[in-house]
């Protein structure tokens, strides 16, 4: 087995050079998705890893394997528990650096060491008993086993516990007067609070409000507490001597490989956490088959992840859509009523490809997707309609630039472009650009009100956003492969509201 390097890829040390999000992020609402994914984990700076799509299918599969392993609830639970403890370790060590009093500082270093040993030992133990399949986690497990059996780690763990035990057995008394205090050993004095509690018990009406919770935990030590601690070291000298010895011997105990695993594995955790909510609502996710060679793509029950996230608590169902391309098809042309889900569909097409290229499970039941080189989007902008000529000019310059940079492996998303020009202009321009796209042999979705585009050639596929055949005013947000058609409806109002005899018999218990 190869030596473990990174959980994000088999290459030598995974680096993220991307410092800003890709241009197409806002159009596809991927910015919202990545914000939501990384928001709970801001201290890890995860965004660059979500801004960097992979270009080789092998690394996509490497990550998919790790994702699958982490989808095992037990594995995920344990890796998370590990990460949570590592956060605590960093917090304690950061705290210790800022402290003034020696035994206070050493006390926190000891705490950090205890949590660290616990975290690493627990993770190693749990992973040893778990069935893993991914190259990434198998290599990491092996590394971890060797590490915890090393002599250095063993002595760190044992000594930390011994010192802690001795310190926690110290019990003392403080007697507080006005402007003075005394410290002495504890000699069996009894709890007075209980007596008061018992006396007033009978007045209890409901669960009483707790008044103690407001006391802030003090992180730090004033000269008064330091004085008390000094008196305690005089009352009980031995445990503090042991603490001195421990801190000298183990002053740098964090392992670098383990530290960077903890950082990088957050990429997976953040994404899986993000989709877990949606999965619980019954939305499907799957690992797409990713290919850089075939453009015969296919998705069952896909959906817009940003929309699903935005609606996660609204109770309104998310509509699932299918699409596929068979040779020689390349471009999905979407028509249908306004607000019918066309833009959502177009976004979904690109989102699915992008998420697949990160090695993530994608929103959909089953998928085969193309490993693209670039994504280009052109969405009609609402603003700036005062200067139509200027706007059209800008649009055409942008489109020209996209076509110049794009390749046969690029994805184009054209959304309702040319809506503010005349019909004749729109049709002419659209047909021209469509011809160029088809010539380029790129993949894409084109949302339009121009039916003519849907049947321009063998590379275009017509898809229609559907309405309810029972009631044409109701959008179904289903986008299906078919030529545009008119709908008629005949509708019983009672039936629509579930108020026929049979329906009520069904509805009532």
């Amino acid at each position: 087995m190869m030596a473990f390097l990174s959980i994000l890829g088999e290459r030598d040390g995974f680096q993220f050079e991307t410092t800003s999000q890709p241009d197409f992020f806002p159009d596809l609402n991927l910015d919202q998705i990545v914000d939501a994914i990384t928001r709970p984990k801001q201290e890890y700076n995860l965004k660059p890893s979500f801004w960097t799509p992979l270009s080789d299918a092998e690394t996509v599969r490497y990550r998919q394997e790790v994702m699958r392993d982490l989808e095992n609830e037990m594995v995920m639970k344990r890796v998370k528990a590990f990460s949570e403890r590592m956060i605590v370790v960093r917090r304690y060590l950061g705290l210790a650096e800022r402290l003034d009093f020696d035994y206070h500082r050493k006390g926190w270093i000891l705490e950090a060491a205890l949590v660290y040993c616990d975290a690493v030992t627990a993770l190693a133990g749990h992973l040893a008993g778990t069935s893993l399949r991914s190259r990434g986690l198998l290599a990491f497990r092996e590394y971890l086993q060797r590490y915890i059996h090393s002599a250095a780690f063993q002595s760190l763990a044992t000594e930390a516990q011994q010192v802690k035990k001795a310190l926690s057995e110290v019990t003392y008394c403080v007697i507080i007067g006005i402007g003075r205090f005394k410290v002495k050993r504890y000699q069996g004095e009894t709890d007075y609070s209980q007596e008061v509690e018992r006396t007033f018990e009978k007045f209890k009406q409901r669960d009483a409000q707790d008044y103690v919770v407001g006391l802030p935990e003090r992180a730090g030590m004033s000269h008064i507490e330091a004085k008390i601690l000094e008196f305690i070291t005089r009352l009980y000298p031995e445990p503090f001597a042991a603490l001195d010895h421990f801190c000298t011997k183990h002053n740098q105990f964090l392992d670098e490989i383990i530290r960077s695993f903890d950082q990088e594995v957050q990429f997976y955790i953040a994404y899986l956490d993000f989709i877990a909510d949606l999965k619980r609502q019954g939305l499907p996710f799957c690992y797409p088959e990713v290919t850089a060679t075939s453009k015969e793509i296919e998705v069952h029950d896909g959906f817009d992840l940003a929309l699903a996230h935005a609606r996660r608590n609204s109770g309104s169902p998310i509509v699932l859509n299918d699409f596929c391309l068979h040779e020689p098809e390349r471009i999905l042309v979407v028509t249908g009523p306004n607000q019918g889900g066309k833009t959502t569909f177009a976004r979904m097409f690109a989102q699915l490809h992008y998420l697949a290229s990160l090695g993530c499970p994608i929103p959909g039941r089953k998928a085969r997707l193309f490993l693209f080189d670039r994504i280009f989007t052109h969405f009609e902008r609402g603003e700036d309609i005062h200067n139509l000529r200027g706007k059209l000019e800008d649009d055409l310059i942008r489109i020209h630039d996209m076509l110049a940079r794009g390749t046969a492996n690029s994805i184009f998303i054209m959304n309702e472009i040319f809506t503010s020009t005349t019909f004749q202009d729109a049709l002419f321009l659209s047909e021209e650009i469509m011809a160029r796209l088809m010539n380029l042999d790129a993949l894409g979705v084109w949302v339009t009100f121009l039916d003519e585009l849907a049947s321009m050639g063998e590379k275009t596929v017509s898809m229609v956003a559907m309405v309810d055949p029972e009631e044409p005013t109701t959008r179904t947000f289903k986008v299906v492969r078919r030529p545009a058609d008119g709908l008629a409806y005949a509708l019983s109002l009672a039936q629509k509201h579930g108020l026929t005899y049979e329906q009520i018999m069904e509805r009532l218990p």
Partner: protein, 503 residues
């Protein structure tokens, strides 16, 4: 434990329990606010309590009877009940005047301890007064609710107990300094501070001698060491936290007891106010007889619309109906003939019965419902012609969502916003299904086709009532059992309003 338990035999009323989903419809259709206002007599608190308790209908006969008996005691001894009610009111008054309050959570334990200490001191004599009332009247009151309440007061507020309370209030001033035990927590910071009783109080001479050898270190702060004094105060607070919590909870418990007492009595006080109001109008009330929800029972003598009586300020016409065994009551007859008033009187009586109140009738017996729903014609819908029928269906569908077996449904000219044939057919389907599913329905309707269908086809679980019109055309506002008539009386109304003028 001090529990009031005047609304339920075994628990407090939970003011946070959700009101029924259709609370807005019910309140509007049954004019409940008129009822609450009469119960409140201008007191906002009584209004809120009446509303909250009434809208949380009871589903069991035992609790209804429990409240009926407490209420009978209240009607019999109104002065004693109002005296008891004064006690929590006076507590609130003192709190307000003497600025007594338990410091909120973010305050220091020292402040919490001091505030709650004062609050306890201000409560002791009120508790004594409550016990004297209990001592005096425990034998007079007949209801299990009040008898338990008085016995509880006598048991819980014994003299020696109140003496213990005062002893602790003295000790909690800590004349010898605050003694804390503690341990080393994370980072060697002190933790687990526990307030202790000094040992020397109960120690033998031998134990004191043995303890003598253990070392004690003392430290005196510099007089200008304000930061140090603050830290020391915080440590003291940390030690006092638990005891401050305990005393504050105790004070809160007493405050809560007074609040619950005020709340639960407020409901009965509202009933008392309503009773006195109706008595002044010369209107009768009766304690209803509830029967289980799965039976079909409805019989009344002199059932009247209490909100109409309150609004008119005089006695109103009552109805005598015998509809035992009926699941569907269809009411037809002329406009302005008392149909809506009857429907409202049915809903109000059901609702009052299931709150444990008396009802506006000479006698009243009915089965309980598991939920009461209203579907009344909405006046404001008249302008939106196209959507009106659909709006009706939408509301009906929402009701169906909430229906459970043995629920009751009051329909007032429902499904009339379309032509009669369509309306009747849809209504027929709905009613047939509801009957099958054991929903009890009162339906005021002009849909003759619907009424005729049930008159000709359905069995003896349907009863037909008609608003009475005398041969000379005058209306009595009474309902009689009578088959539906095809002709309607809208023309009367038209004539009444327009006279005989020609176009």
């Amino acid at each position: 434990m001090m529990k009031v338990y005047l609304l339920y035999p075994d628990r407090d009323f939970d003011p946070s329990q959700p009101l029924p989903a259709n609370v807005e419809d019910i309140t509007r259709d049954l004019a409940l606010d008129t009822l609450f206002k009469a119960m409140a007599r201008g007191d906002d608190f009584l209004f809120q309590v009446a509303r909250q308790v009434m809208l949380s209908n009871l589903g069991d006969i035992a609790t209804i009877i429990y409240r009926q008996e407490v209420l009978r005691d209240c009607l019999k001894y109104p002065d004693v009940v109002r005296q008891i009610y004064q006690i929590p009111l006076e507590f609130l008054e003192r709190k307000r005047k003497q600025w007594l309050w338990i410091s909120p959570r973010h305050s220091s334990p020292g402040a919490i301890l001091s505030g709650s200490h004062h609050l306890l001191e201000a409560s002791v004599d009120l508790l004594c007064r409550l016990r004297r009332i209990a001592d005096q009247h425990v034998e007079d009151f007949a209801s299990p609710g009040f008898r338990r309440f008085f016995a509880m007061i006598q048991r819980e507020l014994a003299d020696e107990y109140l003496a213990t309370v005062e002893k602790h209030l003295r000790m909690l001033r800590f004349p010898q300094g605050v003694l804390l035990s503690a341990q080393l927590g994370k980072g060697n910071e002190g933790t687990n501070y526990i307030l202790c009783k000094p040992n020397d109080a109960d120690r033998s001479w031998l134990q004191r001698l043995l303890a003598f050898g253990s070392p004690t270190y003392s430290y005196t702060l510099h007089p200008r060491d304000e930061a140090g004094a603050r830290v020391l105060g915080e440590l003291r607070d940390r030690g006092l936290a638990r005891v401050a919590n305990a005393v504050a909870q105790a004070a809160e418990h007493i405050e809560s007891f007074f609040n619950v007492l005020r709340f639960e009595l407020a409901f009965y006080l509202g009933c008392l106010n309503l009773y006195e109001h109706l008595a002044a109008l010369g209107e009768p009330v009766a304690f209803p007889q509830p029967v289980p929800a799965d039976e079909r029972r409805f019989s009344c003598v002199g059932l009247y619309d209490v909100t109409l009586a309150l609004t008119m300020g005089k006695g109103v016409v009552g109805n005598n109906i015998a509809a035992d065994g009926k699941s569907l009551v269809i009411v037809t007859g002329p406009n302005q003939g008392g149909k809506t008033t009857f429907l409202r009187s049915v809903g109000l009586a059901q609702w009052m019965m299931q709150s444990g109140m008396f009802v506006a009738a000479e006698s009243f017996a009915a089965n309980l419902h598991t939920g009461l729903f209203t579907h009344f014609k909405r006046e404001e819908d008249k302008t939106m012609e196209s959507g009106k029928f659909e709006e009706e269906l939408k509301r009906m569908s929402t009701i169906v969502d909430h229906l459970t077996p043995n629920a009751s449904l009051l329909l007032n000219e429902s499904l009339a916003a379309t032509n009669e044939r369509e309306g009747s057919e849809i209504a027929r389907q709905i009613m047939s299904a509801l009957l099958r599913k054991r929903i009890k329905v009162f339906y005021v309707t002009h849909l003759y086709e619907l009424a005729r269908h049930f008159y000709e086809r359905e069995g003896d679980n349907v009863i037909f009532l008609r608003a009475e019109r005398l041969p000379d055309g005058t209306r009595t506002f009474r309902l009689r059992e009578a088959r539906p008539l095809e002709t309607n009386f809208g023309i009367d109304l038209y004539r009444e309003i327009f006279g005989l003028e020609k176009q």
